[in-house]
Every structure is written in C-alpha cells, then in structure tokens.
C-alpha cells in the first residue's frame, strides 16, 4: 500500500516538474524544476527496488549535471530573455502527442511475461558482479571510460581561450 502511494506521489511530482521544465519561460526556474524531476525519478528507482541506481541518480543527475546546466545558464546571461517557444510549437505538440499515443497503445496491447520472482535486494554487489565479473560487461565499461575521457578532453578543448 505504501508503495502504491509513493508511486503515485512521485509520478505526479515528476510529471509536473517535467511539464514545468518545458513550459516555464524563466530558464533558471526551469533548471530548478529539472532538479525536482531528477529527484522524483530517483524515488521511482527506489520503488522499483533499484537502490544503487537511485543513489547514482542523485549523485550524477542532481549533483553534477544540474550544477553544470545552472553554471551554463549563468555564463550565457540569457536569463532575462527567458526561453520562449519557437515557431515549431504546434507541430512539436502534435508529434509528441502522436508519439505518446502510439507508445501507450503498443505497450497496453502487449502481453508482458511478468516474472513472479521477488527482486534482488540489495543490488550493489550484483551490479558490480555483472559489470566487472566473468562474462559480464567489462568491455562496455572500458569503452565508457574512453568515452568519458574523450568528452572531458573535448570539453576542455572547446572552451579553451584561443
């Protein structure tokens, strides 16, 4: 019962915050509601018994990505001008609603093979095992490390003073 209430509260808060991100004109407030949306998603992970992922969500999204975005907003001084919607507003709305309708129709009419096994808790050791263990995802981990290095070097090169 508690899980049901938690899901609905978190879902409503997350959707409302996401709507605020795309509808608010003040881009700084939009960034703050983006933080709220990230926190609600972290709560959703907790209701899915993904404890490690919830912690990672708070650390990376709420802690790092939001700070980066807010810093970029400060550096570009477009706060006064706000972020109005462009000419493509109505087509964008139509496309988004069409997409939502298609996806919801597809997933409601699919018969999922729900497993009745209760999920693994805690997940940290199991995720570590499948990331680094025998027959796991060690090659993608290495590639992700290279990708992060390339992104950091690329970002430094891009913003360096000429």
């Amino acid at each position: 019962m508690g899980l049901v209430i938690a899901f609905w509260v978190l879902a409503v808060v997350g959707i409302a915050a996401a709507l605020a991100v795309v509808l608010l004109r003040d881009i700084f407030r939009a960034a703050l509601s983006l933080v709220l949306c990230f926190l609600a998603v972290a709560g959703i992970y907790v209701t899915l018994s993904a404890d490690f992922l919830a912690a990672v969500q708070v650390l990376i999204y709420v802690g790092a990505i939001s700070v980066l975005i807010i810093l970029a907003i400060m550096l570009t001084r477009e706060v006064k001008r706000g972020s109005p919607s462009g000419r493509l507003r109505v087509p964008a709305l139509v496309v988004a609603i069409l997409f939502l309708g298609t996806v919801v129709f597809a997933l409601v009419n699919t018969s999922w093979r729900i497993s009745s096994v209760s999920p693994l808790v805690p997940t940290t050791a199991a995720i570590g095992g499948s990331l680094f263990g025998e027959g796991g995802f060690i090659l993608p981990v290495e590639i992700a490390a290279v990708l992060l290095l390339a992104a950091v070097v690329g970002a430094i090169v891009l913003v360096r003073e000429k």
Partner: protein, 103 residues
C-alpha cells in the same frame, strides 16, 4: 490497485514525450539540452522497470541504465561546452539564429 509494469512504462512514455516536445519547441539551446535529459530519464525508467518485472534476478536493465547515465554525462559536458563557445562567438544561444551550417 497494485502498481504494475504498465504504470511505469506509461510514466516513462509521458516523460519522454514531454522531453520530445521541449526538444522540438524550445529555442534556447540550454533548454533543448534539458529536454534531452528528460528524455534520457524516461528511457532509464523503462529499462529499470523491465529489469524489475521481467528479469528480476539478472539486473541487465539496471546495468544499461548506468551506461545511459555515463553517455548522458558525457553528452551534457560536450553540449554545454559547445553552447558556451557559440555564445562567446555570436552572443546568442537562440537555436533559430545558430544557422551557420544551414543550407
């Protein structure tokens, strides 16, 4: 009423569609990047929900979500660096006025 896989999938589709609308409709480049983050979060919810309800003991969906987060972090860093560079050159980050490469 119990919460099932469909609830999480509809939530994720809603978040993705809101992000899709924002990415198309917004003119500020940073707002477009924020909308893309919303879309990635929606995808992550779907992956974790599949992992929880269909293969509860394998956690592959959660591992995929971690990789999505890695790529999102890299994308944000490079994207914001590009935005700041464009602002330095052209004094604007309005996506409709950044059209140097437009044919």
């Amino acid at each position: 009423m119990a919460i099932g896989l469909e609830h999480y999938l509809v939530l994720s589709a809603l978040l993705f569609s809101i992000g899709l609308y924002g990415a198309f409709a917004k003119r500020n480049a940073i707002a477009i990047l924020m909308s893309i983050e919303l879309m990635l979060n929606g995808v992550n919810i779907a992956m974790v929900a599949f992992s929880r309800y269909i293969v509860p003991l394998m956690l592959t969906g959660q591992v995929f979500a971690i990789f999505v987060m890695v790529v999102a972090a890299a994308e944000t860093a490079v994207g914001l660096a590009i935005v700041i560079t464009i602002y330095r050159e052209r004094e604007t980050i309005d996506a409709t006025r950044i059209n140097l490469l437009k044919w």
